[in-house]
Amino acid sequence: MRGYIVQRLVSLFPALAFMLFWLAGGLLPAIVSGRAELVVLGAVTLPVVAVMIMSAVRSYRR
């Protein structure tokens, strides 16, 4: 049972790594820079975020 839970959690790791970097490397530095346009520019990454969420959901359900 424990192995099953761990396996499911690990299946989320690639999407989790991406999303954490999206936050730590993109959103937070954009906010700290104080330039609103940099935060707004983050919208260009929405397709990638959507793909990551879809892949996380699919690999979790496998």
Partner: protein, 277 residues
């Protein structure tokens, strides 16, 4: 979880040890003997040693997440070859550009406005030659997560298309990452390139490079099992890295050709901008 043979595990550990040794040696040279590689000193924020060390922990943790996933799905050997390959491959391409800009740029007339060079990195606690390991590791987990996401969503696509889509996803993310990281107060790297075509003030050649690196690496990585069927683990990894070495120089030549052609054909700088970026 996939298990590996003893020779595969030995090769994997050797790769990781080589990575660790080269990072330690490079970091010592960068911080203690900066004149050796003419390290540029730049007064940027967050460049105190404890802060840089903490900032480097972030990509290390994120890379571990992807490495652990790769280890459980592909085995320790393939996961290590992926990590080592992406680390050395991207590091090599980045280092070629940084050092080419620093030492050789005048010879091909790619001189920027008053300052010669391509680009350089301003901060990092751990380095691989003149590239912070943040860049190498970020490339590893971004390439891994993008290619894996495509693999999960479209498993029936041919490998070449999966690799291409992974490259496109990575480039889309980089469209945002680069302008953020070069903005004040971060200035994680400084562009000196005189590329006339820019997207959000970042040279187009950067995005071409990102796409080519992720695409080519992911595509060739799919061939590793074929090498493994015919050769020992060590020879397979060596052949894979040898292919990457050739590809790295291929990408370098493509970008040189691109730079020379656009500089001849386009006189003014064109920038696709959004909100003045």
């Amino acid at each position: 979880m996939k298990t590996n043979s003893a020779p595969e595990n030995r090769t994997a550990w050797m790769l990781l040890a080589l990575m660790a040794f080269s990072v330690i040696a490079s970091s010592v040279i960068h911080h203690c003997f900066p004149s050796l590689l003419q390290v540029r000193s730049e007064a940027v924020a967050f460049s105190r040693y404890p802060v840089m060390f903490l900032l480097d922990l972030i990509p290390i943790v994120l890379a571990w997440l992807c490495f652990e996933h790769a280890r459980r799905t592909m085995g320790f050997y393939q996961a290590s070859v992926f990590l080592g390959g992406s680390f050395f491959f991207t590091g090599l391409v980045e280092n070629i550009w940084v050092l080419f800009g620093r030492f050789m740029i005048g010879t091909v007339s790619l001189v920027a406005d008053g300052a010669s060079g391509t680009y350089y990195y301003t901060r990092g606690f751990f380095w691989w030659i003149e590239t912070p390991i943040l860049i190498c590791l970020a490339w590893f987990f971004l390439a891994y997560s993008c290619v894996y996401a495509v693999h999960v969503i479209a498993p029936k696509l041919p490998a070449v298309l999966r690799a291409a889509l992974g490259g496109i996803l990575a480039v889309i993310f980089d469209l945002w990452l680069d302008p953020v990281q070069v903005s004040a107060p971060w200035k994680s790297w400084v562009w000196l390139s005189n590329d006339h075509i820019r997207i959000f003030s970042i040279p187009l050649s950067n995005f071409i490079g990102w796409f080519l690196m992720v695409f080519v690496f992911a595509w060739f990585f799919e061939r590793l099992p074929r090498f493994r069927e015919r050769f020992s683990p060590g020879v397979s990894a060596f052949l894979f890295y040898l292919s990457l070495l050739g590809l790295a120089f291929g990408i370098f030549l493509v970008q040189i050709a691109y730079g020379l052609i656009t500089m001849r054909l386009i006189d003014t700088t064109m920038n696709l901008t959004c909100g003045g970026i």
